[in-house]
Symmetry: C2
Subunit: 509 residues, 2 copies
């Protein structure tokens, strides 16, 4: 077709330039020819339980990945730290003759804890099954994938880790393999790093980085994790939020009390916890903890522009999620995630449902999740919450209360601050950042979604602080993947497109 | 000893009159001779699971009780209602020649649900064991009671129902038996009624009463349930609180959401529930629901006097329970229970502890327990709470929300009001009430504790409304019995004293 014809068809030159490149089409064809083999291996990978704390199985995953790499000609090894408890990260490297650039690819192979009872009836988190679509949209279970079955890219794979983040591992390794098998050349050195402790806060990643600093040098590390934008468009993310969790336990009487005999007299820890949590955030979604928003680094002009261009999916999301009004009415989701959060992850006190009984509970627990943005310090942010708790008349303990604590203080709370880390944000205008953008754009005719910072958290500050390299995130999975929850799933088409995207970045000059 | 000598010893005439009567001493001796037999049978009774909803086992309990009665010469039968789902109540009757009075004795044989995981390690709720004392005071497990073992009355029996309220059943039946075996005469007709649905709100007691109204006639029914006063003194209670439970479920998005990707945007149902609960009661323990205290019937002069004479155990209780300040600072426990309550029985949303994950939960649940005093109507009280919930901007549903509910309303809550009933209070000055007081006083040298209304709930209004009889409660078990919770236990000495107390009332003229 001539340019004129394109104009007649209403296509602009910009759109023409962003048609998938010939290289991307080659990779697509390769995937189509090999989809059964890719599926079969991925199902085997997902069948190995990967809860971060399940040390026996988590190591089986590491070995599986190493074997995946070795069988594709990637020299791989397990990296540990200086202490024996480090779950090994899997490292691999491809040296390209004449390359003047090194690009690293990171994903994590561990997953969040699972409570099988919460999953769709009959589904076990580590026995992946195919489903026709998301359950909330009427998706049905097809059954396990059997070797040799035809693969429908509209289907999804249901299982822990399917999206977060074994998808990253499989897409990175297979992107390299696809390039090799289709005879395409690399321009850069490629490094691979697959972590097994991300879901417990990457507690030893600093140790691994310090121990293997030279090995892990790169111009930029590409993080393959998290979901693509809800519009379905390919996405690049230049930063992540930091995160710190806090576990709160408010104490009542030493033993459970009959709510009739002691009601109105014995303090109720569930009420005290409710009052405390209610004091932390108002009904307009504003966190009331003093100084909570004080340290936030303002957005740059490029970041503001990128935010404004992100397709607004809020109405679609509201409908799909059954939400009438967001937490902060009138603020879009992309604006929301540029702020620090205070989220209640879970609440528990005595029993509800059939197990409920008429008691005044002995304790009430909540887990808080504080997401941090550029400028926040995780320790300082947790301290602000602790100061707030103290301001509400609580005696803050780091252990169960003693008899003396109980006799001295009307309000007792145990606060456990878990391992946290800070946010990270790479300037969008850096040459390497722009090259990545060009590579990803070469695989799709749709405009990209460029996000200054994702809502989720990864300890990416470590790449900057210890390795002194840049870091950019390229998410590949569907946004409605239930990551971190029951019924986690990945749409197969997104896996294939993920492979294409990564292959394009691997060819970056 | 002469009266003079008593005076020298500092004993007043009143105290002299209140020494245990000869009859009571006879019963004491009988129990001592038969304690092993009593224990052995009670342990067998406690070994039959008695959760109200466990229909198979609950009927085994009824049959066991009937056999206990029959073997002691009490004609017993199972009473049902007009509908087939009624758990049978066990009824028995002893006609005394020449008696001009009928006294009925009520207890219930069903128990609260059990969560074995919450019980002391290794203990199963329906495999009773002996313990040396309350766990919170360093009590240790001795082991199961073996037939023929010596019985230490300072020990406790640990198991569901041991205190609430199989203790009542065993004490009533054995009190009658002790009178017969020691050759003492009865003055009144005696009736027995043992219910199996008390812990689910006596949902068919009205049906049973209506069906067997003539059979259940008595001058007064004595309720053997609930704990003696915390001072350990023998106790008579003239009323009970009513009760109604409400289950609340606040809804968030349709699926669990990653707290990083959606935090600050997706509404958090755990926060909304916390805000709602916090709005119901202030930090001084005052319920903020409009009109919550409006219908309360004021106390009479006798009731006020009785309240003032109840030994104040608050400082001891505070120490024992590890409570620094009661919910309403400066108000005693006996004053507290003369008011209606709003208690949080349980809270639940997603997970805490090792299962916690970084999600925005889909729902948050609470169970509320509203205790009612004389004057309150259970339906009206629940309506006041519902009106409060509506005033906080919630759309109140009686089912899960539909798509339409979700699209229309920002705040959705399901409210399930469970079966409730009203309070009951018998005037303390009635002749029958005074006779009971004299009988109980004859078994102890300590002054009695007379309580206008207990904190707990029993559907005693049914005795007044359907049977048109008076009703008075005589609690027999230790107050620190963990009833309704894990590690429920009864002190053996209290069982023995319960038998003595009931035997004395059975001899009332």
């Amino acid at each position: 077709m001539t340019l004129k014809l394109y104009r007649i068809l209403g296509l602009t030159l910009a759109a023409l330039c962003s048609l998938p490149s010939l290289k991307a089409q080659t990779i697509q064809a390769y995937i189509k020819q090999n989809d059964k083999k890719l599926m079969e291996e991925y199902i085997r990978f997902l069948s190995i339980p990967n809860v971060s704390t399940d040390t026996v199985n988590i190591r089986k995953n590491a070995v599986f990945i190493k074997d995946m790499m070795t069988s594709r000609g990637i020299k791989a090894e397990l990296l540990t730290g200086t202490t024996p408890e480090v779950t090994p990260a899997v490292f691999g490297e491809i040296k390209t003759p004449g390359a003047n650039k090194t690009i690293g690819f990171y994903a994590h192979y561990d997953g969040q804890p699972v409570n099988p009872k919460q999953w769709y009836a009959g589904v076990e988190p580590f026995k992946p099954v195919l489903i026709t679509g998301a359950f909330e949209n009427g998706g049905k279970i097809i059954g396990p994938y059997k070797s040799g079955d035809a693969v429908n890219p509209d289907w999804r794979i249901l299982g822990r880790g399917s999206a977060d983040d074994k998808a990253g591992v499989m897409a990175i390794i297979n992107a390299y393999d696809a390039l090799v098998k289709t005879g395409q050349r690399l321009n850069a050195n490629i490094k691979f790093l697959f972590e097994g402790e991300e879901e417990v806060g990457s507690i030893h990643l600093d140790e691994v980085f310090k121990q293997h600093k030279a090995k892990l040098q790169a111009d930029c590390w590409i993080i393959i994790d998290a979901p693509r934008h809800a519009s379905g468009k390919k996405t690049i993310v230049y930063g992540v939020r930091g995160d710190v969790n806090m576990a709160l336990t408010v104490y009542g009487a030493k033993r459970p009390l009959h709510s009739g005999n002691y009601g109105n007299w014995a303090p109720n820890p569930a009420l005290k916890l409710a009052q405390l949590l209610a004091s932390m955030k108002d009904e307009q979604g504003k966190v009331l903890v003093k100084g909570f928003y004080d340290d936030v680094t303002p957005l740059t002009a490029s970041e503001k522009k990128a935010l404004a261009q992100i397709p607004n999916q809020d109405e679609i999301l509201k409908k799909e999620l059954g939400v009438n009004t967001p937490e902060v009415a009138g603020r879009s989701i992309v604006e929301s995630i540029m702020q620090p959060t205070l989220n209640i992850n879970g609440l528990h006190s005595a029993n509800v449902g059939p197990m409920a009984s008429n008691v005044i509970p002995t304790k009430a627990e909540a887990v808080l999740d504080l997401r941090l943005v550029k400028g926040n310090d995780h320790k300082k942010q947790a301290e602000k919450v602790i100061a707030h708790i103290k301001s509400k008349g609580f005696q803050v303990l780091d252990r169960e209360p003693t008899e003396e604590d109980r006799s001295k203080h009307p309000n007792l709370i145990k606060v456990e601050v878990e391992h946290g880390y800070n946010a990270q944000r790479t300037p969008m205008d850096l040459p390497i950042a722009k090259s990545i953008q060009t590579a990803v754009q070469s695989t799709t005719k749709e405009p990209l979604v460029l996000i200054p910072s994702m809502g989720g958290s990864l300890p990416l500050y470590l790449f900057e602080e210890i390795l002194n390299t840049k870091v950019v995130t390229v998410p590949i999975v569907n946004y409605d993947n239930n990551q971190h929850a029951e019924n986690e799933n990945v749409k197969i088409q997104y896996l294939w497109e993920g492979i294409e995207t990564i292959a394009a970045i691997m060819q970056l000059k």
